[in-house]
Symmetry: D2
Subunit: 202 residues, 4 copies
């Protein structure tokens, strides 16, 4: 079983990413369950604005898309800006929009029988809403979202330290992240054993 | 396998409910898959404001809660007001908040291994957002949301006819609702065959 | 100049309300600007589900509505449940939906030239999103939302103490609340001096 | 008085933009009120990911930022993808995040006494939510959002024609857009005549 974690930070490597740091906890949990896990910092690749699977001309999306489709588990790791998901996460969702009309050899949308979870960081407030946005979008596309398949860290109200700068309740974020990893694997295995079929033809 | 559909209309019976009308399409799809399906109009019961499982004194919630916990499938059917979920849906979610700390005999949150889907109606705009709010809340609580486990009907922009008054693209809403029913049943069966375990103890 | 603060807690009096406690800071700021300010705990009144201005039969809404329309400033004070606004806040917005079609003697929607602001509490996360929901709804209805006309308190991640139980960064919430009061008064005065006219007739 | 309209389409020029087409209605309304209005297609400029006012090295944002600060009125025109604002709109909001800590010579946040409105297009559903996201973000930054300062067009449910391909209820979108233009100008004029002061110093 394989997992792809897309880090949707605004900061290209080698800048330190708080989102990556918390996502590593979930990655560790996935690997402890025997899942081969790869993390991609999206902004390091030249992913174009658009809603197709290939915008041509050096577009970095097709390679990322191939990794998503080679994985049973997708984790979107996302910082919070103004209480909302990052623009990079929105670029990813818009590019995944093309999956709405892509089916496998059995006529199933390509996202069926894959699961998605979420990691959110921010220095203030907004994680539940970021999860809502990401969850609705991936469910639209066909991913299944397992119960409690997310974790987050922040410490509102107002501006303050980042995840890496703080010790505020990180234990809760880590325990919750490990539970998310287990839940992602559990539902991915259930769907592997008993897959969803194709939707009724229209 | 059993399903409970909670109709979160603001209008008590016997007023006609557009939300109920579209939810019946999903109910038909569930029943065609052999699922015993019951629909409850929440506002007909005396469900109190609160965040406990029993607010006492004639509270209508405990009976509804029992039906949710007797079902593998939950469908929240919700009208749209000002582009947002109805207050009745929020009452339901707040009462379900208590499930966050309730576990079964194996130490699993009571919502684990149950799936949830959504039916949204409105005469203007807002369905995707209503689904986002409902999905995030039930995933928080522990329900799994299958891919494409929802349908909706509206016809923005601006005020206009209701679902029952219109013929606008209802075919799409019905086909999508039948697919939602199939996806709910498929993932519920997968979780029945290969259940999620308890989260790691903290 | 008058202000009405609607406390949308789920808890009837005399239960202690964290939302009321933070709203009192904003009330103090409004009164310091010479604004006569009244706070109403909505759940203490028998406000019915619905979308009309009077649901009849002992409905508590008409009295609250009269106070809103007697005030230039409306403050919605709202707790956070599952990262979202309370059901009581949604009841209020649904009842205010009727104002969409109510105009004054000059043909202006009744909410024009009134301003609205927000106070949000919670023990975890969600304030920015609660503000987004409330702001969009009142702007739909015709209220103007001044810049930085809100404050909030929470301390994610995960469950923890309430506003009244904690000293975590309350200074920020109070300073921000006083700024919100000033901004509400400033824009209310600007609209009093230079009012919006009626929209173009359709 | 000046207005800047930022078209947040994903499609670079010369591709046809439905969002631009509806935004032109609001631009016409603003110009009819004597407001000098400029429309910028953000994706045509090389705006970088980030949260500062200048990311250096050919960044297209500083020129756009200068136009925002030279205008009393900002209109964000945004397409809808998966029921949510476009990534380009999120890039804009993230770059505007820097304005949170920028003040004028009187110590006021630079966004104070400016107003913001919204134009949303999509071929399905999601406008109210897009408006909620955009409104919350700009209010955070300090812009004032006048009552009913938005318009939208879509025609849910499900996929369908675009704004330019359809005649579905465009009259409503146009009338509402002209009202939005009037409301933006009215509140901008009120704030010009009676400006907000600086917030209390902390």
């Amino acid at each position: 079983m394989r997992a792809t974690i897309l880090n949707c930070t605004l900061k290209p490597s080698p800048a330190v990413s708080n989102t990556e740091a918390l996502a590593r906890v979930v990655a560790g949990g996935l690997e402890a369950e025997g899942v081969a896990t790869e993390m991609i910092r999206v902004v390091d690749h030249d992913v174009r604005f658009g809603v197709s699977s290939d915008e041509g001309d050096g577009d970095g999306w097709p390679a990322i898309r191939a990794r998503i489709l080679a994985s049973e588990i997708l984790v979107l790791a996302c910082p919070t800006w103004l209480g909302q998901p990052s623009s990079v996460a929105k670029v990813v969702l818009e590019r995944m929009d093309a999956m709405l009309s892509e089916t496998d050899e059995d006529g199933r949308p390509v996202a069926y029988n894959r699961v998605a979870g979420f990691v959110v960081t921010g220095n203030e407030d907004g994680a539940h809403h970021v999860i809502a946005e990401l969850a609705q979008a991936v469910v639209d596309i066909g991913f299944t979202v397992p119960g409690q398949a997310w974790t987050y860290w922040n410490m509102g109200p107002g501006p303050g330290p980042t995840y890496l700068e703080s010790d505020h309740r990180k234990e809760w974020s880590h325990t919750t992240g490990l539970a998310a990893a287990r839940n992602l694997v559990a539902v991915a295995r259930a769907l592997e054993a008993t897959p969803m079929g194709a939707p009724p033809s229209t």
